[in-house]
């Protein structure tokens, strides 16, 4: 169907314009998926968190409260944007866009299903790491420009945290790059057609999966690593002064970042959209192929999201020195050793 749209557009608009139109269409599609996913994630989080805490969760808007996040979205769109005195208004406004842009750029590089992959080139992993770390710029901007001491502390914590945990996250992904020998995401997924990397890569891959989940979780600023917004300490951290849809952007980005981290983890370690294949079990493999690839991707990703929620709603928050100790004294050395281990596994 996509090919047909492409053909029709090329006939009527010519090559250049057809390409531009397609860019716009894909952009719109991505944004829609982004927004809808955010709504689903917010609903899922509130419901799952409710179950963890022996509550019912949202149950008033729609059946089982499924329209709750839609209602909340409408509410947040209608809310007043509060003017902050003596804030740096340019940076204040820019910050929320930087955050959402960084998040969408990363989002676009995820392979959602067989063929549904927007940004895919030979340095895909490199690209992922580069754009996902842009978010910290937005957070620092938000904290600085709000002209508030709470946001400032939140932003500084966030800067320290994201820059530290980027290292572990990057090193864990590099372990897989060593195993696969490529940085292209589609190629990485294709290589897992025989067996997912978490099984193929022996212990180093499992270790890398764990460290990536921890480091990635820390990068999303969610509990137990939610120091930048630590509700009980800094009220809402770097986005304390934001209101209305500007706050909504932060909120959206937070949830989508969680999804993105889970998506990357499932792509790199759990085969992405690739069905579960076990070498030699032909019948089993064929049966697995009947399940659409998009289901595989979202299934695995939501599994990882669930792990993140589970951790978030069970653990208390770390303190800033413990957070940095965990990264620099524990996670990073493990990752470095793991990298060498993986090299050995590949070389032998």
């Amino acid at each position: 169907m996509i090919m047909q749209i492409d053909k029709i557009l090329r006939i009527y608009l010519g090559d250049t314009w057809a390409l531009l139109t397609e860019f716009v269409l894909i952009g719109v599609a991505l944004l829609t998926v982004y927004a809808v996913l955010a709504l689903i994630l917010i609903y899922a989080e509130r419901k799952i968190c409710g179950f963890f805490q022996c509550r019912i969760g949202p149950n008033r808007v729609g059946k089982w409260g499924i329209l709750q996040s839609v209602a909340d979205m409408i509410k947040i769109l209608l809310k007043e944007l509060i003017h902050i005195n003596r804030a740096d208004h340019f940076l204040f406004r820019l910050a929320s866009f930087v955050i959402i842009a960084a998040s969408i750029c990363t989002f676009a590089a995820l392979p959602f299903a067989d063929g549904a992959h927007v940004i895919d080139f030979n340095i895909g992993i490199f690209y992922l790491m580069a754009v996902s770390s842009l978010g910290v710029v937005g957070i620092l901007m938000a904290g600085w420009s709000s002209n508030s001491k709470y946001t400032m502390i939140g932003a500084m914590r966030s800067g320290a945290q994201l820059i530290s945990y980027e290292i572990s996250a990057g090193l864990s992904l590099l372990t897989i790059v060593i195993l696969s020998g490529t940085m292209q995401i589609s190629e990485i997924v294709a290589q897992q057609s025989e067996m997912w990397f978490i099984f193929k890569g022996h212990i180093p891959a499992c270790l890398a999966f764990l460290t990536y989940l921890i480091a990635g979780h820390a990068e999303t600023n969610r509990g137990p690593f939610d120091l930048p917004e630590a509700e009980s300490e800094l009220t809402a951290g770097y986005h304390t002064e934001y209101s209305g849809i500007r706050f909504g952007f932060f909120y959206l980005a937070e949830y989508l970042n969680m999804f993105i981290i889970a998506g990357i983890a499932s792509t790199m370690f759990l085969g992405g959209w690739m069905p579960l294949h076990i070498p030699g079990w032909e019948l089993f493999n064929n049966t697995m192929d009947y399940i659409p690839s998009v289901v595989w991707f979202f299934g695995k990703t939501f599994f990882c999201v669930f792990l993140a929620l589970w951790v978030r709603w069970s653990f208390p928050r770390l303190r800033i020195d413990q957070l940095l100790n965990l990264e620099w004294k524990i996670l990073m050395p493990i990752c470095l050793i793991n990298l060498i281990l993986m090299t050995l596994v590949v070389a032998l």
């Binding site: 022996c54 001491k149 502390i153 009980s232 009220t235 653990f315 770390l318 800033i320 020195d321």
Partner: protein, 530 residues
């Protein structure tokens, strides 16, 4: 020295000798715990009553009275260097009576605004609203940077004004509206990066003048105010006031009421400790733990609701007994609750106590030594976590506490974890107490008949009980009218904020620790802002 009660001795001294006597009592007689300072306006003179006690001999109470005739410029000597808790108590008396304490480092008003005219607890105070009008427009921010003090050197008075914070300090207004201050507390903290260097607590945002209101309320009316001090242990506060009135009227509540009161008190304590535990966990970022605490507390609230009609404000104790008999389901539900709570306690330990992050957070911060805890007057679980035996239920058993077998939980560590775990352990002890009482509630009336209008005989009456936060005290000065002449409540929470200031300014304590330490002390603001 005259003895007017079994174990309360009263000493009256002139204002010149007061400090010397206090120092003698503190240093030679080992009266190391200043329970409370009560300010008094005797009409012709203004005075204070120090209630002192010994940590080694806690049933000994000594009241030291002193007064000054100078009503225009009343001055007494400060005892803040003898007992740390005197710091806030003296500020409170300065605020309400206008007595200035010489050598006190910080003579600011504690609850009222600095521009308030008059001293509300003086008998000649003019409450005319035109003198202190309610402002309807934006007010100028109050000066929070400076504090005055008076010192006396060689008989020469000098007034000084200190600056609390330097210009280049990074000061954060922590509260009055903040998710983790457990109420409307305002801490001004000075930060060096994440590390706290100074704390200056500001109170009074929700001060209701309960003690002043008491002076125009009849005794049964005052009962309703006591529930609203420390709302989490409301029944226990009310119990204290009832006991104090009963002592004055020389009546005794029927045994049935005594048993019911004790059970209700212990249920309140469990509910309060669950909230205390939960909110401390929430302060550390574990929201689920808080929800678990609330879930279990809900069972107790249901029991209260069935019997008294109230959930938070139970309004159950009255002078001479309890307001009505217990509901027919009461015993069954309480008996069901005991095994349920035991099971849930295990779950709470499983969820949070053993959690490596939680242990890491609580490890090594918030040390409160025993001597400091006594000096600060940090009673209750917070003091017991530092190894101080201060449980009134053991010291002077009131109600049915002498009939039951339970342990006073003591930890010697004085660390945050001790204060954390002591609450969960006290829940277990409370369950034991309830278990022993619930099957043995005697039959009979649940209320002693009292006169329609209760008049306490002339005199001073004093009662202390153990509420969920520590020693709660009631002081009533009656002149034989249907309203008291003066009522003073000893709030265990007020001094706990002093303890917070002490432990949170220890070296290398961070913002995140401050919140957790506040949770570990478990103060309740309405009890401070009486």
């Amino acid at each position: 020295m005259n003895i007017n009660e079994i174990n309360i001795h009263t000493v009256s001294v002139s204002m010149d000798k007061a400090y010397e006597t206090a120092a003698m009592l503190r240093n030679d007689e080992n009266f190391d715990f200043l329970f409370d300072i009560v300010g008094m306006d005797y009409g012709d003179s203004l005075g204070v009553i120090y209630y002192l006690s010994q940590s080694s001999n806690p049933q000994n109470i000594l009241s030291l009275k002193t007064a000054t005739d100078n009503r225009d410029k009343p001055e007494l000597f400060s005892v803040h260097d003898l007992w740390d808790s005197a710091n806030v108590y003296e500020r409170e008396i300065y605020d309400f009576f206008g007595i200035r304490f010489i050598n006190h480092p910080d003579m600011r008003r504690i609850f009222l605004r600095s521009d308030w005219k008059g001293y509300p607890f003086r008998r000649d105070y003019d409450a005319d609203p035109t003198i202190n009008p309610v402002p309807l427009d934006n007010e100028r921010l109050e000066d929070m940077e400076t504090s005055p003090s008076v010192s006396m050197i060689m008989g020469q008075e000098t007034e000084k004004v200190h600056t609390l914070f330097d210009n280049n300090e990074y000061i954060i207004n922590f509260g009055p509206q903040h998710p983790a201050t457990h109420g409307v507390l305002h801490l001004r903290i000075s930060l060096d990066g994440e590390i706290i260097s100074k704390i200056d607590p500001n109170f009074g945002y929700i001060h209701r003048g309960v003690e002043k209101m008491c002076e125009s309320y009849t005794y049964p009316q005052i009962l309703h105010l006591t529930d609203r001090l420390d709302y989490l242990s409301g029944t226990i506060n009310r119990h204290a006031f009832c006991l104090c009135c009963e002592k004055a009227l020389e009546i005794e509540a029927p045994q049935r009421a005594v048993y019911i009161r004790t059970i209700i008190d212990e249920l309140t304590r469990i509910a309060s400790h669950l909230i205390g535990w939960g909110s401390m966990c929430m302060d550390m970022g574990a929201v689920t733990a808080f929800m678990y605490g609330l879930r279990d507390r809900e069972k107790i609230m249901d029991i209260f609701e069935e019997t008294s009609g109230g959930r938070l404000m139970v309004n159950y104790n009255v002078i001479g007994g309890v307001a009505g008999d217990i509901h027919s389901n009461f015993c069954r539900k309480v008996k069901e609750f005991i095994p349920y709570m035991r099971k849930m306690l295990k779950e709470h330990h499983l969820l949070f106590t053993g959690n490596p992050i939680a242990r890491g957070r609580m490890n090594g911060v918030g040390y409160l030594s025993k001597a400091k805890a006594i000096s600060l007057g940090a009673t209750g679980p917070s003091g017991r976590a530092s190894g101080w035996h201060n449980d009134i239920r053991k010291i002077e058993p009131y109600s049915a506490y002498d009939k039951v077998d339970f342990d006073e939980i003591i930890h010697d560590g004085g660390m945050t974890f001790d204060r954390y775990v002591i609450r969960l352990e006290e829940i277990e002890q409370s369950l034991r107490i309830i278990e022993q009482l619930i099957d043995n509630i005697p039959e009979g009336a649940c209320k002693e008949k009292t006169k329609a209008i209760i008049r306490l005989p002339e005199g001073e009456f004093f009662q202390r009980v153990e509420n969920a936060r520590g020693q709660f005290g009631v002081y009533i000065n009656s002149r034989g009218d249907k309203t008291p002449y003066r009522v003073k409540f000893r709030s265990p929470s007020l001094v706990l904020v002093g303890a917070l200031k002490e432990i949170a300014t220890a070296p290398r304590t961070k913002v995140a620790d401050l919140i957790m330490l506040g949770g570990s002390l478990d103060y309740v603001i309405p009890c401070i802002d009486r």
